[in-house]
Amino acid sequence: MKNQPKHITIATILIGMLAIILFFADVFSGSLHIPINEVLSILTTQKSSNETWTFIILNFRLPKAVVATIIGAGLSISGLMMQTLFRNPLTEPYILGISSGASLGVALYIMASTAIGGTIFSSVLSSFGLVTAAILGSGIVMIIIVIVSMKVTDAVSLLIVGIMIGSVTSAIVSILQYFSSPDQVHSFIMWTFGSLSGITWNEVNIMIWCFIPAFLYALMLQKNLNAMLLGDNYAHGMGVNIRKMRLSVIIATSVLTGTLTAFTGPIGFIGVAVPHIARYIFKTSDHKQLMPATILIGIDLMLVCDIISQLPGNQSTLPINAVTAIFGAPVVIWVIFSNRHMKGGV
């Protein structure tokens, strides 16, 4: 009895509890060792015996864990929606060029700001301008995609146009890099590695305000996504306005991934892999069950990756983008091997 809802509810609760534990583990872990009872007292009373510890927990680790949670949830739900919309298991949230748009914005910003002001790039990286540039970049691509999606009738054409736009923006970024100084290229590459650290509460606030409406909207698309599983024509026959639905998914994923990418850089792998892990573990394509599962597994995986990226007991950190793939790919392969009788797909 694979499809018993009771089974699924229990598994979902377990994954949710794991997310809470991992959240605290993420706050607890870092290059500086802080005793666990001190961490707890800082989180509950915001006081501790050491001012530095309080500062590190409240202004560095806590926002980072919050951002990891948001990214895990946002990228995985976006990936799921895109895979269902295009009925293609290889689709990911960035497939329509949203991240290349953000990259272009950031690349332009880094080149321009160093050319004009000669600012030190380390301060450029954390600046508000960089985020604005990324939002503008992904926003412009998003608007182009939305316009295209209203003109083009079928999903595959839209996918192709999206990939073409991504290629063009990537090519422009390459040209910009070619004409840039090594310092500029370095600071751009640092951004593409992705980073959750150094995000202030102010930035987290902006992120949350963009994230929550889009996230709630995505949750509401669940019912129509189920109808889309049968294909556009059947979904239409069941009362789904296909164009409106396509537009809704594109807007929701664009706002989610655009916001996240702007603040943390493009973080790969989560969006394409987590929906598959959820489908394999829960053995369902029903979005009512799959969506919560995907979100929670995304959060779990992202928190684990963040913990690993800090290399516990070590001073340096790994780029998060590398960790998600190095750690995540074996997880996906393991899940597929342990369910060999199942077929992959959407």
């Binding site: 499809n3 049968l230 294909g231 024509n233 059947y234 026959g237 069941m238 029903d286 797909g345």
Partner: protein, 337 residues
Amino acid sequence: MNQSISYDSILRTINLSIGYKTSKKETLTVLSGMNLEIFRGELVCLIGPNGSGKSTLIRTMSGMQPALAGQVLIDGKQLLAKDAMHNAHILSVVLTDRVNINNLSTFQIASLGRHPHTNWLGVLTEHDKQIINTALSDVGIFNLKDRLFSSLSDGEKQRAMVAKALAQDTPLILLDEPTAHLDLPNRVEMMRLLRNLARTRNKSILLSTHELDLALQAADRIWLMTPQEGIEAGTPEDLVLNGSFQRAFVNQSFDFDMATGTFRIAYTTNKKIKLSGDCIRTFWTKRALQRHGYMITDETGGTEVIVSNEFWQVVQPKKEPVICNTIIEVLMALVIK
């Protein structure tokens, strides 16, 4: 159980024109001025040669493509090409699109038919579940409801899609070539099923098909579409008797046997032969002879095959009569010089 048709119409088309907009200014009209009707509890088969516009008509009547002119009224409500949800309450569809879902059970597939009726979360009430279970029983796959849809055979999958359409609980169901992917027993079974549903559940069913034999037997009425003469509606028998059926399909390679209501491949005949005897074996002998290019005549004096219940006797001029035990022996005896 077997209610009769009440002859009150559930679907009416008023001056319907179908076709495509090929560019901003030009339209390609496939057919125009159609006034058609489907009665409650009636099974209508839409047949016609390839390219006659069957798919266009089905797509237009299901609201997937706008009509060029005129309107479609279902249960008194107008079909609106722009309002999918409105249409989903008055008609449900079963399409030729292949459904490839790996991780949904048969019950979950059928439950998607409740989509227009459930709340924004898509939660199934007890009432919904009951309707879905009834639909699954009606198509005879209730015992498969917990099986994965992907593990079903083609025939069972098609039944699941019909269950989905039933669960949608609309007065009209449109099916686009529902027998296309099925083998012969499943095709017959699917037609029988749809016919019974029309009667017992008082559903109006319109389906397009290439199965002329099945359509002739199962349909209450036939919509016959031809590129030359447009669309003609009538009972299968009326269309046969007035010759429309034959005009639409019969050509050099095809014969329609009015006596049996079946199609025959038309073989070129050049050799005359007389066949006598009247039993089942005579009928099958006739088929074999016709396939081999013999024309059955009543002329005596030539070659003759006499069929009896025990054996065949081949009588040829200037030759000894030959006794045969199988038809192949008959055929061989006829060619041996």
